[in-house]
Symmetry: C2
Subunit: 240 residues, 2 copies
Amino acid sequence: MDKLNMGKHISNKFNEELEAVRNRVLSMGGLVEQQLSDALTAIQTADVELAEKVLTNDHKINKLEVQIDEECVHIIAKRQPAASDLRLVIAIIKTIADLERIGDEAERIAKVAKESFSNDQQQLLVSLENLGHQILIMLRKVLDAFARMDLDSAYEVHRQDEQADRQYEALTRQLMTYMMEDSRSIPKIMNVLWSARSLERMGDRCQNIAEYIIFFVKGKDVRHVSPESIERTVKGDRTS
Amino acid sequence: MDKLNMGKHISNKFNEELEAVRNRVLSMGGLVEQQLSDALTAIQTADVELAEKVLTNDHKINKLEVQIDEECVHIIAKRQPAASDLRLVIAIIKTIADLERIGDEAERIAKVAKESFSNDQQQLLVSLENLGHQILIMLRKVLDAFARMDLDSAYEVHRQDEQADRQYEALTRQLMTYMMEDSRSIPKIMNVLWSARSLERMGDRCQNIAEYIIFFVKGKDVRHVSPESIERTVKGDRTS
């Protein structure tokens, strides 16, 4: 908490409000993580019931997004935060937008999980497993980085996205080869492809959240800059 | 301007700042509109040079996003806006994020436009034309709605997205049929499909921007609510 300068506030109430909204973001993150994990399990095990659960749970994430957004606007209006407090509120507003979209992508995967695949086709879904696992790890890590506002973990997630992109491209090529070999399976494989795309987009969103964490901690916007420049921002002027 | 309550500010400087940042959003919007229009022309006419232009111009949009974001944070810290002024700043922060992503999708279409298609395949690209045209109209309309903070236009764009979604689904089915008929063309058609998906996502983002406009004008967050509820928010308690 000291790291977040929360001890410095004159108003204890303000501390409490910031802390409450941060905790709510973590709850939302936990829910999104569960949705992704469930969607991946549903698609691997052809569990239609679990897929349905993901679809019905999405509204909880949407509701949290709207609530947290409202609280943030309220905090800005009432507390008029500046410097790192304001950066925290802005980082939260942006983070929850990306979390909500990750939830939407999990919903898309759950929709595919509801379809019936032949045994042969079920094999295709296994190819999603690796990418899915990697994205789930990235999501967990970036949420953990957010909880502790940890620069190093955020930077690590940021770099991992390149690896996820490469894995996605290899998977896409593999799936296209299957389509060319068996044209009747095209509609099913397309659904697997859309799911792979959803996972790839989730990776991008984890990278976005990593950027907001870096923005909060370092006060520098690292979107659209070179990897070298991000490295300098993260590793530059370390006291330890 | 009176409509935006700008005349009420004690500080003329604050008025000017808000007006400047709003104008910058409109410049950014104009740039994004041009990028989409160029990407669509490039893919229809197989104009590789124009596609290259779209790719090299994307950084301008990214730069504007970061600049406007900075200005918004600066305004919040310095001017401590409340009520509708704060809603305007928040709506701007969210709008530019969606505009930037629309720019990214235009870039994706431009990448496809750089590929060489056979005469037969070029025909497929024509099928993108209708959807592309519809999305371009939605983008223009929502930017115009943003410029005037016009509730009715925003609501119209919001409703048009459903139509765009239906058009996208029909196009997807058509393209999948082509793939099944000629499996050698699968990689090319996949690229057309990704472009169609990009257009569909742009429509979603125009819908998002419409929601921010409604949020600003009505002070009510209409994300994730039913179409009926949005209609009530937009049309409710009209004085005229």
